[in-house]
């Protein structure tokens, strides 16, 4: 895949306000998504991170402000042209149970097809490649309802890959998966970024996974960017308190060395021996 290197920020917003009906969820948000990186959007439930992702993917018409794709207003571009550059995988997508994996992945080629060209050689090549990348080739003829949750999620990611876009937006790609499958999906996304240079923007719930897999962290609070930057800059005890309302300790991840958040709940009997603090001293 050839990436145009003229722009460091493929996707950006200016004074973006998003909402449903009259309630604003995102207000006056300025954000630039660095190209070629893995970006994680984090924040508490209802902070607007999923809404922001939908706004970036032009699924939601802004109430005010603009989303720019390569400097052009995204809503002024043809939606098919956008679909060739930017793929979106919403949370918990549902397809017909009888659909086979290959049928689903082939749907990713929609923006490249028309009434005459419904299945070009390029379409076929990209679908095979997407199946191979996600390790789904041997399951290609299986119908979706016969797959495990992790396999199904990989099938959806394969569909997004077949769309062959430089930017991939994913809303909580690991929800409903067990830990092993979460790591499997995140590893896959990381490899896609490393090998093919795709920009990956994802909403993640797990802060430690976000720190481990993302180059760039965007913490959202009440519809605004609270902090953004590399995980080791953004991931502080103050940030977690302000954004999530949670007291925690930040320690180095024993495996990756990235920041790791260890929450302090009410049940923290070892706290005293751990840090020399009385449990009562922590709010």
């Amino acid at each position: 895949m050839n990436l145009p290197m003229h722009s460091m920020n493929l996707l950006s917003t200016r004074r973006l306000s998003l909402g449903y009906n009259s309630a604003l969820v995102i207000t006056d948000l300025d954000l630039a998504i660095p190209a070629g990186k893995v970006i994680a959007l984090v924040g508490a439930n209802g902070c607007g991170k999923s809404t922001l992702l939908r706004g970036l993917a032009r699924l939601l018409q802004p109430q005010a402000g603009t989303v720019y794709l390569d400097g052009a207003e995204i809503f002024k571009l043809s939606t098919k042209a956008v679909a060739k550059r930017l793929g979106i995988l919403p949370q918990g997508p549902v397809a017909s149970a009888e659909l086979t994996v290959r049928d689903l992945v082939a749907q990713g080629r929609y923006p490249y097809q028309n009434w005459l060209q419904q299945w070009s050689k390029e379409d076929e090549r990209m679908v095979e490649q997407a199946l191979a990348t996600t390790g789904m080739t041997h399951l290609a003829e299986r119908s979706l309802d016969t797959l495990s949750g992790g396999q199904r999620q990989r099938a959806w990611i394969a569909m997004a890959l077949a769309q062959d876009t430089e930017i991939l937006l994913l809303d909580e790609p690991t929800t409903f998966l067990d830990l092993a499958h979460q790591v499997e999906v995140l590893d896959l996304l990381y490899e896609l970024n490393q090998r093919e240079g795709r920009t990956i923007v994802m909403v993640l719930h797990d802060l430690n996974q976000a720190c481990r897999y993302a180059d760039y962290l965007v913490a959202i609070r009440e519809g605004q960017v609270y902090a953004q930057g590399e995980p080791r800059e953004v991931m502080t005890e103050v940030m977690v308190r302000e954004v999530f309302g949670l007291e925690c300790r930040i320690v180095p991840d024993p495996v990756a060395g990235t920041p790791m958040c260890v929450p302090i709940g009410r049940r923290c009997s070892r706290l005293q021996t751990y840090s020399g603090l009385q449990p009562g001293e922590v709010q």
Partner: protein, 347 residues
Amino acid sequence: MRKNWLVIRPQPLPVSFRLDRRVPVVLLMLVLITLTAVVLNVGQGDYPIPLLEVLKTILRLPTANADYPFVVNTLRLPRTLVAFGVGMGLAISGTILQGLTRNPLVESGIIGMNAGASVTAVTLIVLFPNVPPFALPLSAFGGALAVALFIYLLAWDKGSSPIRLILVGVGMVAVLNAVTTLLLTFGEINGVSQALVWLAGSVYGRSWEHVSLLLPWLIVFVPLSLMLSRQLNALNLGDDIARGLGTRIEWQRSLLFLISAAMVGASVATAGTIGFVGLMAPHLGRHLVGPTHEGLMPTAALLGGSIVVLADWLGRLLFAPIEIPCGVITAAIGAPYFVYLLIRNRK
């Protein structure tokens, strides 16, 4: 590795297609079943005609009996063709509605579009008996479209539960049928008796005139539905994915609803309300060729056509010489099927 696709890609041309490998075989078989059903239905009646003679008569070959051409070509063939066309229309409408709503329990009859088409058509028959015949499908189309729009505004919500759509539909059917009853009660007797015959959901007494009223609708909207199969595939994955893939969802969904309403309007205006065809045909079709609409749409259309032709045949065979309207037969088979799907879908 086994591939389930048949790829058509003639080298020098900028054209390429892909179909499920099962589609051509299934379509061929359905064509044969349809032809058999047509011949059976034409042969059946007070005046039975041997099947070979039916074929000869339809093909305008010399026949054993001079009466056959009249019985076959004037009386029974148009009626059978109407049955086939109506079934095809209802099946296409059901396939579109199930694809758009992602709800396997939906069809035009269940969400009230058939009833809506009846109300406007009955209004026309009872209140304006002198309108030209082509106005009937138009008014039925209007009624079906109005109900589709109403359902869309009232029950369409992201993640709207399948049951909600059906409950709103049940309410619509009750209200619209009440309006129809009202019209029949207070209408002028000639118009009412004409409407009653037609409302039963039967192809009794349909002539070439009816065929020619139905045909233009099929010629326009059947190819259109086939052309929009790809869009329906995308919309079937949900609004967000469809939009992410570059579909103009509002425009394409409106167009598909329009096709669905047109098919219902034309069908109901020709043969009254024949229920459950739009439910059964896409279901059977998915079992035969899978859920991809390029293959499902023509499969369901042929299935729907042959279901109504066979229902008409059964209706005249079971209690001969008494004739049961084909709408009663499709309901007798379709209603239990619906209940079965309802129970299976609850899990």
